[in-house]
């Protein structure tokens, strides 16, 4: 069943006349993970912003974004705020700028939770602690007292993910959430997303340029280039036998960059690693 349907989405820059997204159509099905893949400038983040009504005022958004019988493009700011807070939550690319530098993490988490869920301050604090523990932040009480600049980018990213996880929206749109993280943190965060899909039955749009993460998480893949859809379909098919040359190019570069590492890890030959 189609949870979110995007029909002929286009985004134009009214100032420059440039068309940023061209006639994009795709669906997000219930409890599926759709990964949007492409390089910077391909329009992946812009697509997410257009869905959530977060584009700049001089960008004109046309087409249909159908969610639970509504065309989101036509909704008021007030309605969209509710949608963004509870139904379709976004995890941003740059965690650092998402936080208020003048407030503690605890204050911001409690504020966000109370804004979107019905609970008092004590309950919100307890939920915040549980949330942080679920993203492997081991001294949650300490972290709640800190200011954003005192935490590393990776930790802030995990705090952001934890907030979204406890709000339990229908759809999570994650924009390059693991890009700044190291392998261990990335693996843990990706596993958390995997768990969210399996256990909480959330549906997800996951934007990434990292094909290994996409391969692990995606049920479906949308490949974008220059604001257009280049390939759309089941992940297992597209990533093993891509039809478009651009998809092949992305895969080849990914494989090429991993070669030295993979060879070194297997000691230059095929071996079996045991736990």
């Amino acid at each position: 069943m189609s949870l979110l349907e995007i029909k002929n989405l286009s985004v134009n820059n009214l100032r420059t006349g440039q068309q940023i997204i061209h006639d994009l159509s795709f669906s997000l099905h219930e409890n599926r993970c759709l990964c949007i893949v492409g390089e910077s400038g391909s329009g992946k983040s812009m697509t997410a912003k257009a869905i959530l009504g977060l584009t700049s005022p001089w960008l004109q958004v046309n087409g249909e974004v159908l969610f639970k019988g509504m065309n989101l493009i036509e909704q008021s700011n007030a309605t969209m705020r509710k949608v963004r807070g509870q139904k379709i939550c976004m995890i941003l690319q740059d965690a650092m700028t998402a936080f208020d530098p003048l407030s503690t993490i605890g204050k911001q988490m409690i504020e966000t939770l109370r804004e979107n869920l019905v609970m008092n301050k004590t309950e919100a604090k307890e939920l915040a602690i549980t949330a942080l523990q679920s993203v492997q932040i081991y001294e949650p009480e300490q972290v709640l007292k800190k200011y954003p600049h005192q935490l590393s980018g990776g930790m802030l990213q995990r705090v952001m993910i934890s907030i979204v996880m406890v709000i339990k929206p229908d759809i999570i749109i994650a924009d390059e959430p693991t890009t700044a993280l190291d392998s261990i943190n990335q693996r843990e965060v990706v596993e958390q997303f995997k768990k969210l899909l399996a256990v909480n039955h959330v549906s997800m749009i996951f934007i990434s340029h990292d094909l290994s993460v996409v391969q692990y998480l995606a049920d479906d893949v949308l490949v974008m280039k220059d604001g257009k859809c280049v390939e759309l379909g089941e992940a297992s098919k597209i990533l093993s036998t891509p039809s478009h040359s651009f998809t092949k190019f992305l895969i080849d570069t990914r494989v090429g960059l991993s070669q030295s590492f993979q060879q070194s890890m297997s000691g230059g030959e095929a071996i079996v690693l045991e736990s």
Binding site: E39, S40, G41, L151, S152, G153, G154, M155, T179, A180, L181, D182, S183, I184, N185, Q186, R187, V190, H209, D210, L211, S212, V213, Q215, Y216, S240, T241, F249, L250, I251, T253, R254, V255, G256, L257, S258, Q259, S260, F261, Q262, Q263, S264, M265, S266, G267, G268, E269, A270, I271, V272, L273, E274, S275
Partner: protein, 226 residues
């Protein structure tokens, strides 16, 4: 030399201390037998850095020409400036017309190449690359890594490549140091990563997500993480 560590491990702090931008509380940093502040004083321009955020590494009001000229002007080395800037742009595979442009007109990959050109302008012996490719697309990362490899050989520089990306580090570095919570836990040759001893290094190495292509000739069985 690669310096690998997760966010918060101290790798940026360490690279800033090495660059002389911060002072350690204890211990010494020596380059070529001299304490770092003295070495920097006597070897102006011999150590350069390329940061992760190319847009905030450059003055947005400077033309590309001014950006690359800045370190040369700072050390008073201004003979044949225009020719040398042109030669530097060629080295980083950017066209001559770039000199008239401004940072916002360039893509991430192009601007990082400008930052690299600026960093090698003073012919440094030692180049610190602090997550220099992390903000770039994978296909551009590959190009920049190849560029860095070539420049290193051509100019006989020593690199400290600080990153959280193991695959990139393995691609370009001969040796890799693993940093965990501010301590060095392992040092390995990059072609012998399977010989890691410390539990942290092993965990990090095995957590790297692998893209399985149908042409995989190197087969690894699934590893259960402890």
């Amino acid at each position: 030399m690669g310096l690998i560590g997760e966010s918060g491990s101290g790798k940026s702090t360490l690279s800033r201390i090495i660059l002389g931008l911060e002072n350690p509380e204890r211990g010494t940093v020596m380059i070529e037998g001299k304490p770092i502040s003295l070495w920097i004083k006597h070897n102006q321009g011999s150590m350069s850095v390329v940061f992760q955020d190319y847009y905030s590494s450059v003055n947005p009001q400077f033309s590309i020409r001014s950006i690359i000229a800045e370190p040369l002007i700072a050390i008073g080395d201004v003979e044949n400036l225009d020719e040398r800037i042109d030669a530097l742009l060629t080295k980083v595979a950017l066209p001559h017309s770039t000199i008239h442009k401004y940072p916002h007109e360039l893509s991430g990959g192009q601007l990082q190449r400008v930052c690299i050109a600026r960093a090698i302008a003073t012919k440094p012996k030692f180049l610190v690359l602090d997550e220099a490719i992390s903000s770039l697309d994978v296909s551009i990362q590959a190009q920049i890594l190849d560029l860095l490899c070539n420049l290193q050989k051509e100019m006989n520089m020593t690199y400290l490549f600080v990153s959280h990306d193991l695959q990139a580090v393995a691609h370009i570095c001969k040796r890799i140091i693993f940093l965990c919570k501010g301590k060095i836990v392992e040092e390995l040759a990059s072609d012998q990563l399977n010989e890691a001893q410390s539990s942290y290094a092993k965990k990090l190495l095995h957590s790297v997500m692998h893209f399985h292509s149908p042409n995989d000739t190197i087969r690894r069985e699934k590893v259960t993480l402890e």
